[in-house]
């Protein structure tokens, strides 16, 4: 195991703290629906091939990732307009842009960290459990609470402005209505009052892939994503991107 000198260890602690804060800031800015901030402040700018992966594939490259975040904002706009229609007295006179995220909260709770900084201090790898949950008045089914539990694996890179997300992989085991079993998630019952929301769809990953399955009763146990181990430099370890 590499033995670090006092100053090196102090720097490594500061790096660890900054990275842990990135994940926390991701949580709170998602609650605030500040997807512009998340993309501009927390993701890398100058590094090749950033990647955002989910169960159904990867958004690879800056353009695809931006398209994903833009789509999230588009959905927030649609929901805000539905909210204004449903609550004309309270919200009718308010600018749509000023009420993005109305009636909902999406919480990405990160726990159970394993965070490894490379020996060369240029990259880091982290794995967290995601204990996600949302309460949202404006879904295609109407008001819905959703549990999203799974794993989040991130490669970080140090750029001039600090540590940034480089590759992020979010794989869910559970994506089910709160207060119901995830054994067999119920079919969604679309409420016509929310049809604009039902008609929206996110852009597909530009690298579609069956990365990971949601839980089902014939799903095999999969040791995925890999658990980070101490490493010297990024070239000597595996990537959470593609």
């Amino acid at each position: 195991m590499t033995k670090y000198m006092t100053e090196q260890l102090t720097q490594r602690w500061e790096d660890y703290n900054e990275i842990e804060n990135i994940m926390g800031k991701l949580t709170y800015n998602e609650i605030l629906k500040k997807s512009d901030y998340i993309l501009d402040a927390l993701w890398c700018k100058n590094t090749q091939e950033p990647c955002l992966g989910f169960n159904n594939g990867y958004y690879k490259g800056y353009e695809a990732i931006r398209e994903y975040f833009n789509a999230l904002k588009e959905l927030d706009i649609i929901k805000a307009k539905v909210a204004k229609k449903m609550h004309p007295e309270e919200l009718g006179g308010v600018e749509t842009e000023n009420i993005l995220g109305v009636g909902g909260i999406n919480v990405l709770n990160f726990t159970t960290p394993v965070l490894e900084l490379s020996a060369d201090g240029k990259t880091a790898k982290g794995l967290w459990y995601l204990m996600g949950g949302s309460g949202d008045f404006y879904t295609e089914e109407g008001p819905r609470g959703t549990n999203r539990w799974g794993r989040v694996a991130v490669d970080f890179i140090r750029e001039d402005t600090g540590w940034k997300i480089w590759h992020m992989l979010v794989v869910l085991d559970i994506d089910s209505k709160m207060g119901t079993s995830w054994e067999a998630p119920a079919d969604k019952i679309i409420d016509p009052a929310y049809k604009e929301i039902a008609e929206f769809s996110m852009p597909a990953p530009n690298v579609p892939q069956n990365v990971y399955e949601l839980y089902h009763n014939r799903r095999r146990i999969k040791a995925f994503p890999k658990v980070p181990k101490p490493y010297d430099a990024f070239s000597k370890t595996f990537s959470y991107g593609i």
């Binding site: 804060n21 709170y28 000023n98 819905r144």
Partner: protein, 251 residues
């Protein structure tokens, strides 16, 4: 900052994380008075806030968080003992009230450059549960909240100055679609409560609402504020600042 000062800040962050976890563990165990004595500032101007209001000084905090809680423990024990005589062996009866487990996730922790204070923000997807209850049934609730904490270095020890709790959603464990399910109305008490008027809740110093639960017209609330790097406590935003209705009134 020299190396020693940088290490001071690293050690401070580690200690503040411990203090925050200790609050959770002590609160879960109902060990409230000890928590105030061991992990809160000696200053009188500390503040604890929730959606419903702010306990705006040490005296108010002790009254609400310790005195009243201990009175509740006596009350609950007197109700439980005839039903479950085994509770006689429970050493600390405060535990019989409930377990309020406000577990911690997603930390953002910043220690001031002067090393004298720190700010932390956590999300708590927590729960409250209780096994033995007067109605002879278990109780359980989910409670999702945000914690903002101001810590200060006092006599070489990191302690709380302010704690701000913002509850976003809560509901019955594990009701279908629980954030949107109304809690059932409490049945009327079988007892004559008129003699218990004196044990009614102590008023918080500053009533709320300071934060709002999820609703169809509620926009995202930026509170507690996300800590940013800062130099001294005077330059940053205190978690004692009144929010919610006070922001709207411009107070």
């Amino acid at each position: 900052m020299n190396l020693s000062e940088r290490i001071d800040r690293a050690a401070a962050a580690s200690e503040c994380e411990k203090v925050m976890s200790l609050h959770c563990l002590y609160h879960a165990g109902g060990i409230h008075r000890e928590e105030i004595e061991e992990f809160w500032t000696k200053r009188e101007d500390c503040k604890w806030s929730h959606n419903f209001g702010q306990m705006n000084n040490k005296k108010n905090y002790i009254e609400c968080y310790a005195d009243e809680q201990e009175a509740s423990a006596v009350d609950i024990y007197e109700q439980l003992e005839p039903i479950y005589p085994e509770v006689k062996k429970v050493k600390d009866r405060r535990a019989l009230i409930e377990v309020a487990m406000h577990l911690l996730a997603s930390p953002v922790l910043e220690v001031a450059k002067d090393g004298q204070s720190a700010k932390g923000l956590w999300y708590t997807p927590g729960c409250i549960f209780s096994t033995l209850n007067p109605q002879k049934a278990k109780e359980g609730m989910w409670m999702w909240e945000r914690y903002g904490a101001d810590f200060i270095l006092e006599d070489g020890k990191w302690v709380y100055l302010n704690l701000k709790v913002c509850c976003d959603m809560a509901g019955i464990m594990d009701a279908e679609n629980w954030p949107f399910v109304e809690a059932p109305e409490e049945p009327p008490s079988e007892e004559d409560d008129s003699s218990k008027a004196d044990s009614s809740q102590v008023a918080v110093g500053v009533p709320g609402p300071l934060h709002y639960m999820l609703s169809g017209t509620q926009i995202p609330q930026e509170r507690p504020y996300i800590p940013q790097p800062y130099r001294t406590f005077e330059e940053t935003y205190s978690y004692a600042t009144l929010t919610g209705i006070y922001e709207e009134k411009g107070k």
